[in-house]
């Protein structure tokens, strides 16, 4: 990456983070909602650990992937909405009139998503450790866990960018939120796939890449070092990133050429 591009990306990324941190409502949603769901499912479904074959005795550990994945989703939606509002309000045009390379705009937005993913990952990890989550893979695993969270945020962020660039409407991006939510819940987020009884649900969860992102993160918490889960998790994250960024770049080209 050239130094000019790097400067542009870093400035736009910084702007993305600063504006998000200056919206307490957004930050509260991004931190509190995932934590609330975590607290509710971790306690509410604790009895599921009594199912024969459940992989851990602690549902708290099992559910810890949930806030991390949900936080990535929040970050992506926030960034997508921000980008769409930039388009709606003319800020995108203002930036387009500078010698900034279009890819820097995308890079800046995604750098912001990753930075927020890092902030959220560290906060959740700290809270998780404080409430008794036991990370089997140790400190190195924690680093990897945060890394996978950031990559997941980047992948979802690319999808948010596609929606923003295609629709140019903050409202449209926001209203896509339930779709992302559906993708998370129709995965192995609440139970291991082999304990899902309904065939149709198990099939959807098996086809849903979110399951592998969740299982990658979860393996670091409840198993330790599980190469297969990690390869699948990181593989899905990189696949999602590649596809969503390619889509975002194409959408950007289309918008710039309109």
């Amino acid at each position: 990456m050239s130094s000019t591009l790097l400067t542009q990306v870093s400035h736009l990324g910084r702007r993305s983070v600063v504006r998000t941190l200056r919206q307490p409502g957004v930050m509260v949603s991004a931190i509190l909602f995932p934590l609330m769901f975590f607290a509710i499912t971790a306690s509410g479904l604790d009895a599921a650990t009594n199912l024969p074959g459940f992989p851990t005795a602690s549902y708290l550990d099992f559910a810890f992937a949930f806030p991390l994945v949900q936080a990535s989703l929040f970050g992506a939606i926030t960034a997508g909405v921000d980008l769409a509002r930039d388009i709606e309000g003319g800020f995108f045009d203002r930036l387009s009139l500078t010698p900034m390379r279009p890819v820097a705009l995308l890079g800046g937005m995604l750098a912001g998503v990753m930075a927020l993913g890092l902030i959220q990952g560290v906060i959740f990890l700290s809270i998780g450790l404080a409430v008794g989550v036991n990370i089997q893979s140790g400190f190195a695993g924690m680093l990897l866990l945060v890394a996978l969270t950031i990559l997941t945020a980047l992948g979802f962020g690319g999808l948010g960018a596609i929606l923003a660039l295609r629709t140019g409407s903050g409202e449209a991006v926001e209203s896509s939120f339930p779709l992302f939510f559906v993708a998370i819940f129709l995965s192995s987020i609440n139970l291991p796939r082999d304990l899902i009884e309904s065939d149709w649900f198990r099939l959807i969860a098996t086809l849903n890449p979110v399951s592998y992102l969740v299982e990658g993160i979860r393996s670091l918490v409840i198993t330790g070092w599980d190469p297969q889960a990690l390869i699948l998790g990181f593989g899905c994250a990189f696949g999602l990133i590649a596809l969503s960024l390619a889509g975002a770049a194409a959408s950007l080209r289309t918008r710039m050429a309109t």
Binding site: F37, A39, S43, L45, D46, L51, P52, P178, N190, L191
Partner: protein
């Protein structure tokens, strides 16, 4: 006759005739608005989604030792989804009231209504009509999903509880919406309703809950309504009378709250 025409033709301020005339006009207008806009089904979407995700994904949970609900996991989840649908029906009515204040329409209602309590009653009646449709939709999805109610006449108990929950949620939403009179009322209506729904025995019966949620849910009125509703559905009604008492108490407590909101709106002009 138009809604406003009905309002103006009501009898003197404060009379019962005025109350029902105004309520009828407001309810008519709201219901008309619902049925000309497919978005009125929105309160059913989240419950249906959660129903599919939980009933489909967590059905093996009923094999947990101590899971004593006999109606099957689909029915177990349906009751929670139904109560969610009716509570959200109330919340969405709150959003609609806030929207009416933002657009200025509510001010027109306040000026025209011969009995302003009728406005509140009208919104509640409309909310019940809306919820009958969205609740019905959730029920149809559950039946397609394999729910087999075993309750017989007891099912009316579930319907009665759902109705009371809807009225309580509508009164709560109306109070908040009338006090704030802007779209900012949305999160303040939605968040407590979601919290009260989730801090309940959503996934397993109350006796299987552990930790903080076991304590919190035992203090949550929704827990009693939910467990009684599940009992009515499975033909094993327990705690029904107490649950009705809780639901009626909630409605009675929220009536002054909604009237307080109405007075706030009156003071604001």
């Amino acid at each position: 006759m138009s809604a406003i025409g009905n309002l103006a033709s009501g009898s003197t301020r404060g009379s019962f005739g005025g109350l029902f005339s105004v309520a009828g006009a407001v309810a008519w207008r709201q219901v008309y608005k619902f049925f000309t806009n497919p978005a009125f089904l929105a309160p059913a979407l989240f419950p249906i989604f959660f129903f599919i995700a939980f009933a489909g994904g967590l059905s093996s949970v009923e094999q947990v030792p101590g899971f004593d609900f006999t109606g099957g996991y689909v029915a177990f989840q349906f009751v929670w989804s139904l109560l969610q649908a009716v509570a959200l029906g109330g919340a969405f009515t709150g959003f609609s009231i806030a929207g009416d204040f933002e657009s200025g329409f509510a001010r027109r209602l306040m000026l025209a209504a011969s009995n302003r309590r009728g406005i509140l009653l009208g919104y509640v009646l409309a909310s019940i009509v809306r919820t009958a449709v969205t609740g019905g939709l959730v029920t149809v999805v559950a039946l397609i999903g394999g729910m087999r109610p075993a309750g017989g006449v007891d099912l009316f108990g579930l319907v009665g509880l759902a109705l009371l929950v809807n009225v309580a949620a509508t009164l709560f939403g109306a109070g908040v919406a009338m006090l704030l009179r802007t779209g900012e009322a949305g999160p303040l209506i939605r968040t407590p309703i979601f919290l009260i729904l989730f801090i309940a025995p959503v996934f397993v019966p109350q006796n299987l809950l552990v930790g903080w949620i076991s304590v919190a849910s035992s203090l949550n009125p929704m827990t009693f309504i939910l467990e009684a509703g599940r009992g009515f559905l499975s033909g094993d009604p327990t705690g029904g009378a107490f649950a009705f008492g809780v639901a009626v108490a909630a409605v009675l407590l929220l009536i002054p709250w909604a009237l307080f909101g109405l007075r706030g709106a009156e003071r604001a002009g």
